[in-house]
Symmetry: C2
Subunit: 138 residues, 2 copies
DNA sequence: CTGCATGCAAAATGTTTGCACTCTA
DNA sequence: TAGAGTGCAAACATTTTGCATGCAG
């Protein structure tokens, strides 16, 4: 790779958010943070990141792509808060065993089980009047 | 409801396909079948169907919405062939137990687990050179 | 007759691509 | 200098909405 000046910033912002964010969201956040960056670059960087295996991609309930930095490329299962976007990683041994079982039972092969489970996290008890930002980077 | 002339046709076509289809796909199929119907109507009918609980909605890997008539609104889990679209219904007792378990463990509530697992069904052994149409309506 | 369902076209939204420019190696 | 990275605008695909009309009740 050549520069990664902007790409580093994008990856940085992605890591800073610490949760699944869509390209537009990340772009807006970076612009708000003072970065001079284009939407296109964010899209491209995110796609490259996901392509390289450095980021997880999920399809939200709206059909939008959301990205997140990915430490281990092994298990791709998440429990995602539909309000603040916080995502808990799931070990998913039981899930994978179940998936392998039903796949075998139905004769399906090459099964890609990216379980994206949407719910309400303990920080968002009331799904009404969202003023929530949930910017904790931990 | 008033007429349901067209809506009945849409539901019919959806049932006839017997698998997950997107609005555009269904529309094209109906037009090919001689129906005089607009894309908008298909979208609206599909949305209404899903709204009423008569159809399942999934988000494909492309981010498109795919619909399918839904007999039992209880378990919403499917093993979908990414090539021909065939979908096997999964009892998913084990999955739901696992989801309930991890949700409780992480404090998530209102969890909606619509497990859409994409793979290759036994009818599509070779995921290369797809000239496949898989138009079998049964 | 009333008024909702319908359909065409345009708008809205999310994502990708073309092309010229910038900036790093 | 060379060429990949970048950004703007346009292209593109999918879905929704506005508005006039037809058909069921």
């Amino acid at each position: 790779m050549r520069v990664t000046t902007r790409q580093k910033a994008i990856r940085d912002a992605l890591e800073a958010s610490g949760r699944f964010v869509c390209a537009q969201d990340l772009h807006a956040r970076m612009r708000a943070g003072g970065h001079r960056i284009g939407l296109t670059t964010v899209y491209r960087a995110l796609r490259a990141l996901a392509d390289h295996g450095d980021a997880d991609v999920i399809i939200t309930e709206d059909g939008q792509r959301a990205y997140r930095v990915c430490g281990s490329s092994a298990s791709h299962h998440h429990l995602i808060c539909r309000w603040c976007g916080r995502a808990a990683e799931l070990p998913a041994t039981a899930l994978e065993r179940w998936v392998a079982d039903v796949s075998l039972r139905h004769g399906y092969t090459g099964v890609c089980c990216a379980a994206e489970i949407f719910g309400t996290c303990p920080r968002c008890p009331e799904p009404a009047g969202r003023g929530h930002d949930a910017q904790e980077t931990g």
